[in-house]
Structures are given as C-alpha cells and as structure tokens.
C-alpha cells in the first residue's frame, strides 16, 4: 500500500504522524511511504532523516492526497484537505466526533474510511495504540511545568537562611491519564498535591502516587460511565462538589483541571467567583480548554490574567513537546495500523479494536455515537 504522511496545517500543531523509525518499519512491511516536505520540521526531524528512512519526499500535499491509500495524520482534515483527498482512501488520525460532525457528510460522500485514534478502545491490549493516553500524559506532565513557571513561588519546601518557603499547593481536578501524570510530576517537583475526581476508583490510584484525594460524599459509583470513562453526575452531587472545590481552591497555588466527559462539553468546575477567591499570583492550567474548559473563564489557546490569576487555556501542550509527542503518537499509529493490516483479514470488524476505532468504513457509518450525532444533525 502507499502510505502518505502530511505536514500538519493547524496553527499550534508541531507534531508529525510518523517518525523515521516508523517509516522504516512500514517499508520493511513492504509498503511505500510518501511524505510532504518539511513535515517533521517542527518536531526537529529533517527531510533528510526521512529520506534516509526510505520515504519519498514530495513537494506538495496534492501528490500525497492523490497517491496515498492510507493517510496518517495527527489532526483530522480541514476543509481544504478534505477537498484534496482522494475518494475511497483511509485516514488515520485523532477524530473527535462532536468537533468534526459538520464535515462528516463530505467524508461519507468521498467514501473515506476513518480510523479514529480517539476511539481506540481503552483496553489493556490496545494500550500501545492508545494515543489519547500518550498525549494526555504529555499534557499532564507539561501542565505542571508551565504551572510552576506561571506562579511566582517555589514548588518545594525550602528552609533557608532567609526564612522558610512553604511548598506550593497543587490541585488536580480530574485524575484520568493527564491528571495522574500531573499528580506524579507535581509530587516530583516537591509540591503538596491534592486531587479530585468523580470516579471513586481513582482514589486508590491517586494515593498510589502519594497525593491526597479529596472526596465528595455520595453514592459511590455516581460518576462512573461506560468503558471506565466518566459520565455526567446528579445536581445534588454537583452542588456538593462545587462546595468542596470552592473551599479547597482558596489555598491552592496551581490548579490543573483535566475533567472531561467523552463527546460532551467539559464540566464547569470553577466559576468566576471561585477564581476570584484564589490568592493573587496563582495559576489555573485548564487542560479541558478545547472542550470548553473546566473553568468558566478559560479561553481556548490563550493565557489570560483575571484579577492576578493566570488562566492558561492552551490546548496544544503536546505540541510543545513535539519530539516526544510525535514519537509516541507515531508508535501508536503504527501499532494500530499494524494490528489492523498485518493479518490475513484486514479490517476485521469482529475485532474489538478495529471495530471500535473504525468510524467510517468506505463512507459507511460504523459507530453508534457517530450515528446518533448524524441523526441529531438531521433533525
């Protein structure tokens, strides 16, 4: 097969969907690879690196869209790209349905197959294809670094001749993959770390990283949805939770919020008054920004200052660590590709992973949620 790799066009995107190593593996598996010129630049990979790995460098993305059977990308196609892609080809990339729903008709028209990295099931077996995890982990890690950069205090405890500096207090809202990574790194940096999540199972995980878990008393499985993800919670719970967060937040120096509910806007956990109750000089890193943010005031991809509180809504943290982010992403993509195509029966819909990640199969809808969204659109 001919596999095409494109340069990402989004403003803040620095990642690339395949590393030279991955390309070597693809070529070993007797595929041929074409790659757009400069695709790796922002991840500090030169075209010659790609060439050495065996890829063909092409000047224009048109060539790639025309020739490739399968296209590897980080982000889904924009309008322009969607125009260019050849009918019947397969796209492997992140794909949040709620954000892309407007383009779905065109994908269907062009009989595109979409293998969504966002929909790889979160099973033990699929973990090496789980790009959500690998990128969330980066985001969580990086959030603590920029948090430490934003505040005008030390993270660790320090007893010096000029007095004792108290350790910074960090609160993590939502202890999924990103949240756990943030906890781990904030602990490492010496801060006092607190965490909160709706799913009670997370308590043990938080404590396994040495942080304190803040609990809302409630029916124990309130926030547990399908497949280990969170679901929306009751009003009563929301009130208790708001109360708890409100109390806790006052003392915090950094808040890293990662609370997400799949295919839904992010829950608002921090409102304006709560922000204003924080100590001047504190920072909020809102990793849920792209889904609306966990903080009312968050502006996606902007760093704002509200009454001396910094609210960082950058959604592209993985891109700021493009070298590692690209490496992990490209391995995830390759593993998925390999899982699906490296057997006698490619696109075996019996297979949980293949079936789960396949949103469109040559233009045919292969996903319940997607179908729901389409039905909703049509009404």
């Amino acid at each position: 097969m001919i596999i095409g790799i494109l340069k990402e066009k989004q403003k803040y995107e620095s990642r690339v969907s395949a590393m030279p190593e991955t390309i070597k593996k693809l070529i070993k598996a007797e595929h041929s690879v074409i790659i757009e010129k400069g695709a790796g630049n922002k991840s500090f990979i030169s075209d010659s690196d790609y060439k050495n790995a065996g890829a063909n460098i092409v000047e224009s993305d048109n060539d790639i869209y025309n020739k490739s059977d399968i296209i590897l990308k980080v982000n889904p196609l924009d309008n322009d790209e969607l125009e260019k892609i050849k009918d019947g080809s397969t796209l492997i990339s992140f794909f949040q349905i709620k954000d892309e729903i407007k383009n779905i008709p065109q994908y269907i028209n062009k009989k595109i197959s979409i293998l969504s990295m966002s929909h790889v099931p979160r099973t033990t077996l699929a973990q090496n294809m789980d790009a959500l995890s690998s990128q969330s982990n980066i985001a969580g890690y990086k959030a603590t670094i920029i948090g430490a950069d934003h505040i005008s205090k030390y993270m660790p405890l320090l007893m010096t001749a000029a007095g004792t500096i108290k350790p910074a207090k960090v609160l993590i809202l939502g202890a999924g993959v990103a949240g756990l990574a943030a906890i781990a790194n904030a602990k490492r940096m010496g801060a006092q770390v607190y965490a909160f999540d709706v799913r009670p199972v997370v308590k043990e995980q938080v404590e396994s990283l040495g942080a304190k878990f803040i609990e809302v008393e409630s029916d124990s499985n309130e926030g547990v949805g399908e497949g280990g993800y969170a679901k929306e919670v009751s009003e009563d719970y929301k009130k208790k939770q708001a109360e708890l967060i409100k109390e806790t937040i006052k003392d915090m120096d950094i808040i890293i919020s990662t609370a997400l509910i799949p295919e839904r806007p992010a829950p608002i956990l921090i409102d304006k008054s709560m922000v204003e109750s924080m100590q001047p000089g504190s920072a909020i890193i809102d990793l849920a920004a792209i889904n609306g943010g966990n903080c009312e005031l968050t502006k996606c991809d902007e760093i704002i200052n509200h009454s001396n509180i910094i609210i960082d809504g950058r959604s592209y943290l993985p891109s700021t660590m493009a070298q590692d982010a690209s490496q992990l992403y490209s391995k995830n993509v390759f593993n998925l590709f390999n899982h699906i195509y490296n057997n006698d029966n490619p696109l075996n819909l019996e297979d949980e992973i293949t079936n789960g990640s396949l949103l469109l199969n040559k233009g045919q809808v292969n996903n319940k949620i997607l179908q729901n969204f389409i039905d909703q659109e049509n009404n």
Binding site: L125, N128, N137, L180, Q205, E207, S208
Partner: protein
C-alpha cells in the same frame, strides 16, 4: 572406655543438632550425629558385657536394610510420612526395651523403676501408634480431615486416668496392669492424632519425634541401675532430642501461626489450599516470607517485576531496601518495567524514581525478556495482568496478544499480592498455579519489610 565413648557420642549429638539448625552446616551436622550413633553402637556391642553378637548383627542388618531401602526409594514428596514412620519405630523400640526390662524385674521393682518403665512404655507405644496414624494421614490412607466425635477429649482423659491407676496397681497386679497400660497407650496414640488435620501433621510429627526422645530418656532411667553408663547415654540423648524437638515443634507452630495447644486439642487444622475465587481452580503454593527468604538467599540473579499493587502499597522504598540488601550479598538485581504496569504511562518509573532506584537498573520489556531464562528468581510485586501467560497462549483471553513479561521462564517465580483477586483486566492468571510459582500473600510493603528482616536473620 565405654563411658567415654558414650560421652563422645553425646557430644556428637549435641554438635550435630546444633549444626543441623543452620543451613550451611546442616549436612555435616547430620553426618556428625550419625557418627555419634556409630560410636555408641560399637561401644555397646564390643565393649559391653557379653552379648549374642550374631543375633544382634542379624537384627541390625534387617533393620538397616529396611531403613535404607525406604530412605532411598521413597519420593521426595513422601519424606514427611517416612520420617513419621521411622519415628514410630524409634518409639516402639523404647517401649519394647522397657517391656523386656519389666519382664526382667517383674513387679518387684522400686517405685522409681516402675514409674520409669510405665512412662517409657506409655510414651513409646503412644509414639508408635500415633506415628502410624500420622503416616496414614499423610499417605492418604486415612482421611486427612480432622476426625472428631463428641466426648473425644473426655475419652482421652478417662484413658489417662485408667493408665494411672493401672500403673499404681502394678505392684499388685503385675503383668495385667502392664498390658493394660500397653494397650491403652497404643489406643491413646491413635486417639490423639486422629482428630488433627492434614495441614497440622508436620507439627504432630515433630511433637511425636520429641516424644520418642523422651521415651528414650525414660528407658535410660530404666536402664541406669543395671547399666549406668548406657542408661546415662540414653538419658542425655533422649532428653536432648526431647527438649530440642519440643522447641522445634514450637518454632514450627509459630511459623504456621498456630499455638501448640491449638494443634493438639483444637482439631481444627483444615486445608490451607488457596482457591482462585472464580473460574478455573488453580492449585497454589502459599509460602511464608521466611521461606521466600531462603529462596532469595540461594539465588544469584533476581528480577523484580513491579506492578500497580506496589504503588498501592507505596512499597517503593521497601523494595529498594530489599534489593540493596540482596545486591550487597553479591546478587544481581534488575527491575523489569512493563510498559503498561500501573495505571498511567510511566507509573512504575515515577514510583521507582521516588525511591531513588537508578535508571540503569530499570529494563524495559524487550531488554528484560531474554533475561528471565537464566534468572533464578523473578519476584512479582503487585503485578498481575502484565505477567499473565494467557496473553501469549490463550486466544480467547481479552489480553491475548499483549506482550508480557515472561516471568514464568525464571527458575522460580515468587508472586506477592494480597488475595487471589484479578487485576485491572479482570482475568484469571494461571501463572499463580504454575509449578515454579510460589505465592506470598500480603500487602506488598508489609511483606517486603518482613522479608528483609527474615533475610537478615538467615
């Protein structure tokens, strides 16, 4: 001269026993003890009063052949019952000697002699029959379940009282009293052992072993008048074995977390086999940390496999301490980090870095998997899914296809977790039942701390 020989043989026994209780000297200890025995026998036969050497030789040869035959033939797994039966013969011998002494003196003996003979016969016979029951239980000839019936203890008490009376009556009734004691002791031996469960058998055997020592000592008291030096020898060696056996029994009880009283009267020793909860039954071996420590002590290359449970237990420091101790002993210790161990990417790295375990010791899946084959011990600490062989072999398993750490390739796998519960993926792990697997249950931190102190005590 004969006295001196006995003294020397006694010293041999003392030293032998002392050495037997240390792993490194144990084998030599056994040899020294057997040397002591040889000296004692030779002294008795050649230096003693005139004896019918031919007859003795025949008896000794018969006994030796029987003993040697079983000692060589029997399978390793049947050792305990063999010890039980040998022990029974020892007790029997004492009882027989006492009997023949009784026949010699009749009922006209001194008080002291009567007491000695009674005790010797009582304990010897009890040991004899009790050992056979123990043998039967271990060999599966008799149900390993505790066999109990109402009034059991009462019956034992009555038997004891009858024997007491019979002993008191010896001067009057002579042989009749004696036979009563003989028979009732045999019965008592059976009754005492039958209610004890299979799992407690080792303790019982040890106890019977101690009894046979005491029986020998009592025989010594019987003999001491007619054959003072032989009598003394029997007293020394018998009481030595009696006392050390008692201590050993107690140590064993403690090791099994049972009190001696509990074992003898409790009759509660059920099976301690673990069951795998749901699904397939796996047959697991549960070890104490002390036993695990012995295994580590003998190992040279050790691979530690941390999992989510290690993080839950916050045992990162404890594991480093154990590893450092082992390294100080010249062993090689590596950590095998499975890419998805824990609950977040790099969970184990964070954990182990916190304990300041150097990066060089951490090996990822591809690096470490070839190493398991020549590794003596793989220690799985709170990991489960990442070492589940089903991922390699069981196509129906939800984790089939995931690369795992091949811990089962190690000579011995020691697995620590709290229960037989499943891990994140919710699938059974047949590794736990493998022949080379050993489970050590408990919270990872507690277990490691215990292990360290046991290692230090070796």
């Amino acid at each position: 001269m004969i006295d001196l020989s006995y003294l020397i043989s006694a010293i041999c026994f003392i030293y032998g026993l002392k050495m037997l209780s240390h792993p490194k000297t144990a084998r030599n200890g056994n040899i020294i003890a057997s040397l002591g025995m040889l000296i004692a026998i030779i002294a008795t036969v050649y230096l003693g009063t005139e004896l019918d050497i031919k007859m003795i030789a025949i008896a000794m040869i018969i006994g030796s052949i029987i003993g040697a035959f079983f000692a060589i033939k029997v399978e390793m797994t049947q050792m305990p019952q063999l010890v039980a039966i040998f022990n029974g013969f020892g007790g029997g011998a004492s009882a027989l000697v006492a009997t023949s002494e009784f026949l010699k003196y009749g009922h006209n003996s001194t008080m002291f002699l009567i007491i000695s003979i009674t005790l010797s016969v009582l304990i010897g016979t009890l040991t004899f029959t009790g050992s056979f029951i123990a043998f039967g239980k271990l060999q599966g000839l008799i149900s390993t379940k505790p066999i109990t019936f109402p009034g059991q203890q009462l019956l034992n008490g009555i038997l004891a009282i009858i024997m007491l009376i019979a002993a008191y009556m010896i001067p009057n009734y002579g042989m009749d009293s004696f036979y009563t004691i003989l028979i009732l002791s045999g019965l008592l031996g059976i009754l005492l052992v039958i209610p004890i469960g299979g799992a407690d058998m080792p303790v019982v055997i040890s106890l019977l072993n101690s009894y046979s020592g005491i029986a020998a000592a009592m025989t010594g008291f019987v003999l001491v008048n007619s054959e003072p030096s032989a009598g003394n020898a029997l007293i020394i060696c018998g009481s030595l074995v009696g006392a050390s056996g008692m201590i050993l029994t107690q140590i064993m009880c403690k090791g099994m977390n049972r009190s001696l009283v509990n074992v003898i009267f409790g009759a509660v020793g059920g099976e301690v086999e673990g069951s795998s909860g749901e699904g397939k039954e796996v047959n697991i071996k549960s070890y104490s940390t002390e036993e695990a420590a012995m295994i580590f002590d003998a190992a040279e290359k050790i691979i530690i496999v941390p999992g989510y449970g290690l993080a839950v237990a916050q045992a990162q420091h404890a594991v480093r301490e154990v590893a450092e101790f082992l390294e100080d002993k010249g062993k090689q210790v590596l950590y095998a980090i499975h890419p998805v161990a824990g609950r977040m990417p790099g969970h184990m790295n964070v954990l182990l870095a916190e304990a300041n375990i150097s990066y060089e010791q951490l090996k990822d899946l591809d690096e470490i998997n070839p190493e398991f084959e020549d590794c003596d011990v793989a220690v799985v600490l709170g990991a489960n899914d990442v070492v589940n062989p089903a991922a390699r072999s069981d196509q129906s398993s939800p984790i089939y296809g995931m690369p795992i750490l091949n811990v089962d390739k190690a000579r011995t796998v020691i697995i620590n977790k709290r229960t037989m519960n499943t891990g994140f993926a919710g699938v059974q792990n047949e590794l736990f039942g493998y022949d080379n697997s050993i489970m050590v249950f408990g919270d990872a931190k507690d277990m490691l701390i215990q292990l360290l102190s046991d290692l230090k005590e070796l």
